[in-house]
Amino acid sequence: MTQRRVPYLILAPGLILLILFLVLPLISTIFPTFFNGGFTFSNYTSFFLDEYNFGIFWRTIKISLIATLICVVLGVPTAYYISQSPKKWRGLLMSITLFPLLTNSVVRSFAWITILGQDGILNNALMNIGLLSKPLTMLYTEFAIVIGSVYLFLPLMVITLVGILENIDSEIMEAAETLGANRLIAFVKVILPLSVPGIIVGSILVFTGSLTAYTTPQLLGGNRNIMLATFLYQNATALGNWQGASVIALIMIVATLIVMKLFSWVAGRMDKRGEASA
């Protein structure tokens, strides 16, 4: 009898800490948003009916979606290249990919401030060669947030994909080419479908990461391009609107869960389709 209790005693400290310092804090902040006299969803309906709030929600979804797409487009060929490189190169290429990932995200966003700023490196370079007569506004735009998010999350996408693509037999490509497909078609028809599981996992990481990111919109978005995370922070600090901040907190959690479920569901469907045609 005592033997059977041992596992639960071992698990108890972690479970208790999680309940005390994650679950209870979340419940105690989010619960009150459903009460206004009686039980109500009004805080949430009014959030989405408000044009300004909905604009911020929509911008967050839009930027996350674009960043995810760019990461897929850039990530799949790069990961394929890494997975097909000779072993001694692969380590170096993986280090190049890992290095930005392990570097602080403030540092990585700051790099783009120096590049995209009004008096930044890109503007100065373009004006020096005469392509521009006056500087472009690139920093503090949605464009800057997209670039920053791609820069932040591309390594995650590549590393996830390399793990999948390494297991693909390189002879499969040769077979496709022998059978008459040119290299691009062979890539699209053979490698791309095989990398779908990696693309899904990577996309979940990039999408949910951009959806909830705080550093990038804060440093690269400026005051006009607020996203959900910066809006939460603004509500809780500058505006002193704790209720509003808690509403955004739940919206961020639910959006994350929906994205994860949705992507896994898509992956599941694609798997089934593969089985049916096989």
Binding site: F99, D119, T256
Partner: protein, 259 residues
């Protein structure tokens, strides 16, 4: 591999995209101008000494080190036995408990920090530093559960059984047989948890106060009002730290173990 010029150029451009911004930071940290300039006009190391003279940076650096270290340590003390139990014991609702242990990764970091600030600091009047430490513990725990868990699952169960047959109690077997065989997993999860706690911003953003600011937050606050090469210099110092860590990981476990 046969040559494929198109793919090679494409991958080359992506690697350039990943590295050039960081390279630019390194160059600008040596510039003599008082704002950031590229290419630089003169060479100086002054910005590095400015970083070391900046008390806010140094204090927050040591705070970040301490918080990351102790949060990781607590996560290991609680997480390693839990991961073992989840892998080896018949536990009711095993998958649910495992998902629960991994759940801090699903809740957005800023929300974790916000909820803890509201509940622990405002409602129960804990000092901010304790909230900060617990918040970072929540960041670290999933890494330990995931990495150590998969190491234990790969460990041959029969060597434990042998040690029981030879007279070890279960606790002795865990300490003498299991732990020495999962050190690589423990070390890898320590590194991952430490790096992620040290670099984390969202969780710390709400949990900061006078004298209690983590390095990334303090760097972020500095950037909001300043645009000088000391930010580049501090960035370079942080990158050097990253390189040292990557080197240590490569020499001990191989980088493949954390990616």
């Amino acid at each position: 591999m046969r040559k494929n010029i198109g793919l090679k150029i494409f991958a080359g451009l992506v690697f350039a995209f990943l590295l050039v911004p960081l390279f630019i930071i390194i160059v600008t940290s040596f510039g003599t101008n008082s704002t950031i300039q590229f290419p630089i006009k003169g060479f100086t190391l002054d910005w590095y000494s400015k970083v070391f003279d900046n008390e806010a940076f140094m204090d927050s650096f040591f705070l970040s080190l301490q918080v990351a270290f102790f949060a990781t340590l607590l996560a290991l003390i609680i997480g390693v036995p839990a991961a073992y139990s989840l892998a080896r014991h018949k536990v009711f609702g095993r998958n649910w408990i495992k998902s629960f242990f991994l759940s801090p990764t699903i809740v957005p970091g800023l929300v974790v920090g916000y909820a803890m600030y509201q509940f622990i600091v405002i409602k129960f009047q804990f000092p901010i530093i304790q909230g900060l430490f617990l918040g970072h513990f929540l960041i670290c725990l999933p890494y330990v559960i995931r990495v150590v868990g998969s190491t234990i699952e790969q460990l041959d169960f029969s060597i434990e059984e042998v040690s029981w047959t030879l007279g070890c109690t279960k606790l002795q077997a865990f300490i003498k047989v299991v732990l020495p065989n999962i050190t690589s997993g423990i070390f890898a999860s320590f590194m991952l948890a430490f790096i992620n706690s040290f670099n984390n911003i969202p969780v710390s953003q709400f949990l900061s106060g006078p004298g209690v600011t983590m390095l990334p937050t303090s760097l972020m606050n500095y950037i909001e009002y300043n645009y000088d090469p000391s930010v580049s210099a501090l960035s370079v110092i942080l990158m050097l730290g990253t390189i040292v860590l990557m080197y240590v990981i490569e020499k001990t476990l191989g980088l493949a173990s954390i990616s």
